[in-house]
C-alpha cells in the first residue's frame, strides 16, 4: 500500500480497523471522498472484502477517479474472488476507457461467474472509442458484436439482459459510423428476435425498451 498523500493515511488506517460493516462503509466513503489518487490501491483492496455495501462505495470512488484508476484496476483484477472481480469490471465498465477492452471481452465470454460476465458485457457496449484507438484495429467492432451475439444466446436471463443493454449503448454510440452498418444491422436483428421470441418476459421487455429508446419502433406499438 503506497500512501504518498499523508492526509489519507488515517483514513486508510480507519478502514483496516473497522469493526463492523457500517463503520467499514463509512470509512471507505470518507476515503473515496478525498478523491486522492493515493486512495486507489486501498479502494481496489476493499473490492475483495466480501462486503457488498463497502464494495459499491469503493466502485463509485474509483469511477470518480476515472482514467487514472484504469491501470491499477487492470493490473489488480482478482482471479480468485469473483465478487471482487465483478466489482473491478463494474468500475472499468463505468469509466469506459478502451484500455479495458481485451479484459472485458474475455470476461464477457468466458468467466464462470454471471456477475462478472454481466459487468463485462455491459462495459463492451459503453467503451468510449476514439478514432485513434481504431487505427490498425479494424476488428474491434467485429469482435464486440460477435461476442455480444454469442452471449445473447446464454441460458441465464441476466446475461441476455446485459447483452441487450450493451447492444443498445453500442448501437446508440455508433449509429452514425458508416463502417459499422453491417454490424449494426446484425445487432438490430438480434434485438428484434429477442423481443419477439425470448422465453423470459423481462428480457423481451428490455429488448423492446432498447428498440424504443433507439427510436426504431414507435412507442405506440
Amino acid at each position: 500500500m503506497i500512501a504518498t498523500d499523508p492526509a489519507i493515511e488515517p483514513l486508510i488506517t480507519a478502514i483496516a480497523q473497522a469493526d463492523s460493516p457500517a463503520t467499514l462503509i463509512g470509512a471507505v466513503r470518507a476515503l473515496a471522498q478525498t478523491a486522492s489518487l493515493s486512495a486507489i490501491p486501498t479502494l481496489i483492496e476493499v473490492l475483495g472484502y466480501n462486503n457488498p455495501g463497502a464494495a459499491s462505495v469503493a466502485v463509485a470512488g474509483l469511477v470518480q477517479m476515472g482514467e487514472a484508476a484504469v491501470p491499477l484496476l487492470l493490473e489488480q483484477i482478482d482471479d480468485y474472488n469473483y465478487g471482487a472481480r465483478a466489482s473491478s469490471l463494474r468500475a472499468l465498465a463505468a469509466i469506459a476507457d478502451p484500455r479495458a477492452f481485451e479484459v472485458l471481452l474475455e470476461a464477457a465470454a468466458t468467466d464462470f461467474a454471471p456477475s462478472v460476465r454481466r459487468a463485462a458485457i455491459k462495459g463492451l457496449g459503453t467503451l468510449r472509442w476514439q478514432p485513434r484507438d481504431l487505427d490498425g484495429q479494424p476488428s474491434i467492432h467485429d469482435r464486440t458484436v460477435s461476442t455480444l451475439l454469442l452471449v445473447s444466446h446464454d441460458s441465464d436471463w441476466t446475461i441476455r439482459y446485459a447483452a441487450i443493454a450493451a447492444f443498445q449503448s453500442w448501437i446508440f454510440t455508433l449509429q452514425n459510423c458508416s463502417e459499422t452498418t453491417d454490424l449494426t444491422r446484425q445487432a438490430l436483428e438480434r434485438l428484434e428476435h429477442l423481443r419477439q421470441t425470448d422465453e423470459d418476459e423481462v428480457v423481451r421487455a428490455r429488448a423492446s425498451m432498447a428498440q424504443h429508446q433507439l427510436t426504431i419502433v414507435p412507442y405506440a406499438q
Partner: protein
Amino acid sequence: MDSPSKQPDLANVQFLATEQAIPPEAHEAIPPEAHEAIPPEAHEAIANLRHEDLSIRYYAAWWLGKFRVRDVVAVDALIAALDDDANRTAMGGYPLRRNAARALGKLGDKRAVAALIRCLDCSDFYVREAAAQALEALGDASCISALLSLLDGGVDAAQFAPGLPHLVQPYEAVIEALGTLHATEAVEQIRPFADHGVERVRYAAMRSLYQLTHDPYYAEHLVGALSSSEVQLRRSALADLGAIGYVPAASAIAQAPVENSFKLLALKGLLGHHLSENDAHSEAAIRLMTLMDTLL
C-alpha cells in the same frame, strides 16, 4: 452423469446430509453451462434413486430437481422416495425424503401434492419444511388446511425446538406458502406472527400478509428490513419484496447493501408482477429496467 462436474461430490453430499439447509446464494457460483439443456443422463438418475449407495440416491434426487426432469417416471420415483426409510441421519432425519420433496416442488407435477401433504406430519423438521416449500411451488390450494394445522398453538407454541437450531415447525415456509396460495382464511392465524421474536418469521408473516391483504403497511416493513444489520436478512427481505412484486420498493432495493445478483432477481420480480397488468413501456417498467441496468 459422466462429466466430472456432475459426479456426486462426496464432501458436498455429506455437508448436505447434515441437518443444514442448502445455502440459497449458492447459485451464483454455478457455471452457466450447468443450467443448460435436457440431460440425457436422466434415466440413470431415476435408476439411481434405488442405488445401493445411499449418497448416490440422495444426489440423484437433487439432480432430478436441479435439471427439472419432468418425466412421469421421475415424478413417480420421487414420490416413492418420500417414504424412504433407509437413508437416516444420526439425529433421525430423512435426507432422501428432504431432497425428494425439494425436487418435486421444482417439477410442477400436482400428482405429488397428496404425498407432500403427508410429509407435513413427518418427524423430521426439514422434511416438513421442504414439503411446505414444494406445496407452495405447486400452487395447489388443497394443502391449505394441512398447512394451517402446523400453525396450531399460534405464536406461544412457536418456540425453538429444545437443543435444535430451528423452531418446532417450519413457520417461515408454512406462512409463505399460505400467502402464495391466496389463503385469505389464514390471515387471522398469521397476523400474530408479524410480532414473532425471530426476524425471518416476522418477514415471512409481513410478506404473506401483504399478499393476502394488499396492505402496504406490511410491505413497508420489508423495505425497512433492507437495512437490517445482517446480510442474510437483507437478502431475505429482498427476495420477499421480489416475490410480492411491491413496485414502490424499487429504489430501496437498488440501493440495498446486497450483491447485485440478488437485487436483479428482486427487481425482476417487481417487473414481472408489473408486466402482468401493464405493458413494457409504462413509466414504472422503464424505471425498473433503468434501475436493473445500473446493477449489471
